[in-house]
């Protein structure tokens, strides 16, 4: 039993207990609090399974934003559930038990937890893991790996590929490389020093990322699933728009509302004043650092929104409106989506495909890739942060009758 499995087993027990408590607690306020606990625990589960970006998002979104939103709703509704006549709903219990039994029966056919032979690890993903910036975009053979090309070799790369020469100036290896033998064109090397020990590095030119984006989650998010991510951003944008449509009042009313700031509590005020710039800076770091480490636009955007929400909590919403007026907020929401699609359009105009980032820098495709991904991440970050802030503002504005 490995450490991962041991911790996983214990954590999931905690998670299940929390989930039951969330449903069964009658006080909705307690339920909202337990939701935040649940999200933190769930984030721990993700961390334990090495899914850092998901854990990042879950912690920021589940532990932060969604709890605040739930509480913001409780302000306008009741704190307590209506008492039920029967504590246990028999029919629902029977249905869920039946459904669950069927699903559990299905799990017996699943590959075991952590099984390296599971199909999911062998279809498509190895090629994507071996994906090399610049190279991927300038070859035609990327979609279908040629016969004899062993993606697993790149996946578990041990730094000892025989075809890589010791001398960086010697480029004769490119003629004998695996891909060249299969008729796939190799990109040009621009005189940079080679790093032979990089996985798959003997296949692509050196650049900012040493040939690949270190965080493969971000690279998949922005490149392989680029269209998808763009439309997910649009979904979030749509959520912001619908919140405005559902809840926004005439603007003057929002400005003139009285609020209940906590600013008279000296300790809270001082600590928040210290914390807010740090949170903003950290949010920007997370967005910018997305290609290199865990993080990215979604996570960083939520963190930035958290900073503004803290400001609104302590100093009142009118103060937030003085810092960031709602019209500016609305404009920025759209700007983020525009930035994303604009990057794609720029690639199109430069002669590549839509969202073909390598086109942004024709000399060193890897740098273009870095630029494109950063722009896209910023677009996502701006939209997410502003939409989260809009949602918070609208839920809070609702107070005025």
């Amino acid at each position: 039993m490995t450490a991962v499995v041991l911790i996983d087993t214990l954590l999931l027990l905690l998670v299940t207990v929390t989930a039951v408590a969330i449903i069964e607690v009658r006080n909705l306020y307690a339920s909202a609090m337990l939701t935040s606990v649940y999200s933190l625990l769930m984030a721990l589960v993700w961390v334990n399974m090495h899914s850092m970006d998901v854990a990042f998002t879950e912690a920021a979104v589940g532990g932060g934003i969604s709890t605040i939103l739930l509480i913001g709703t409780l302000v306008h509704t009741a704190r307590e559930e209506k008492p039920l006549k029967r504590r246990v709903h028999g029919k629902a219990l029977a249905l869920t038990a039946l459904c669950g039994a069927a699903l559990i029966y299905g799990t017996f056919d699943m590959p075991r937890f952590g099984d390296p032979k599971a199909p999911i690890h062998h279809f498509r993903v190895p090629e994507m893991m071996a994906q090399t910036v610049g190279f991927a975009n300038s070859t035609a053979g990327k979609q279908a790996p040629p016969a004899g090309f062993d993606p697993l070799e790149y996946r578990s790369f041990n730094g000892a590929v025989p075809s890589v020469p010791v001398d960086p100036a010697d480029t004769a290896w490119r003629e004998t490389s695996v891909l060249a033998q299969h008729g796939i064109m190799l990109p040009k090397v621009n005189g940079h020093a080679l790093h032979p020990a990089e996985p798959g590095h003997h296949l692509h030119p050196p650049d900012d990322f040493n040939g690949h984006v270190p965080n493969s989650v971000t690279s998949l998010l922005a490149a392989y699933r680029g269209y998808d991510t763009m439309f997910e951003t649009t979904v979030i944008f749509t959520a912001g728009v619908s919140l405005i449509l559902l809840l926004r009042r005439p603007r003057r009313e929002g400005y003139l509302q009285r609020s209940a700031p906590l600013a008279d509590q000296a300790i809270l005020r001082v600590v928040s004043k210290m914390a807010i710039p740090f949170i903003l800076l950290f949010g920007l770091y997370v967005i910018t650092h997305g290609e290199l480490g865990p993080g990215g636009g979604f996570q960083g955007g939520v963190v930035v929104a958290c900073a503004f929400i803290l400001f609104a909590l302590i100093f009142g919403r009118p103060a937030l409106y003085r810092v960031l007026p709602p019209p500016v907020c609305d404009l920025l929401t759209g700007l983020g989506v525009l930035m994303y699609s604009g990057t794609g359009l720029a690639c199109l105009l430069l002669g590549g495909n839509f969202l073909d980032y390598a086109m942004l820098d024709p000399i060193s495709p890897g740098d273009g890739e870095a630029l494109g991904m950063t722009l896209v991440e910023y677009g996502v970050g701006i939209t997410v942060s502003m939409v989260m802030l809009t949602i918070f503002n609208q839920l809070a504005e609702e107070r005025s009758k």
């Binding site: 911790i7 307690a30 935040s36 606990v37 721990l44 209940a260 906590l262 909590l313 839920l395």
Partner: protein, 87 residues
Amino acid sequence: MSWVYLATAVVLLVGMFMILIRAIAGPTVYDRILATNALGTKTIVFVTLLGYISGRTEFIDMAIIYALVSFITTIAILKFAEMGRLD
């Protein structure tokens, strides 16, 4: 060395379980808030330990996020308890 981290993590998990019971049972709202806050701290330490168990120190970025976010959540929960509103 890794068994030390693992043992620490398991002990912390037991502690988290105790706090969770308080968070679920807690007779007053404030007990629950307190337990949530304490769980947040334990979670942060736990994330860092997980980073050391698997040898990836990038996990610490996440601990920073947890620290900041759980602080904000606590403030929001408290403000609702105290004022009955969020803005």
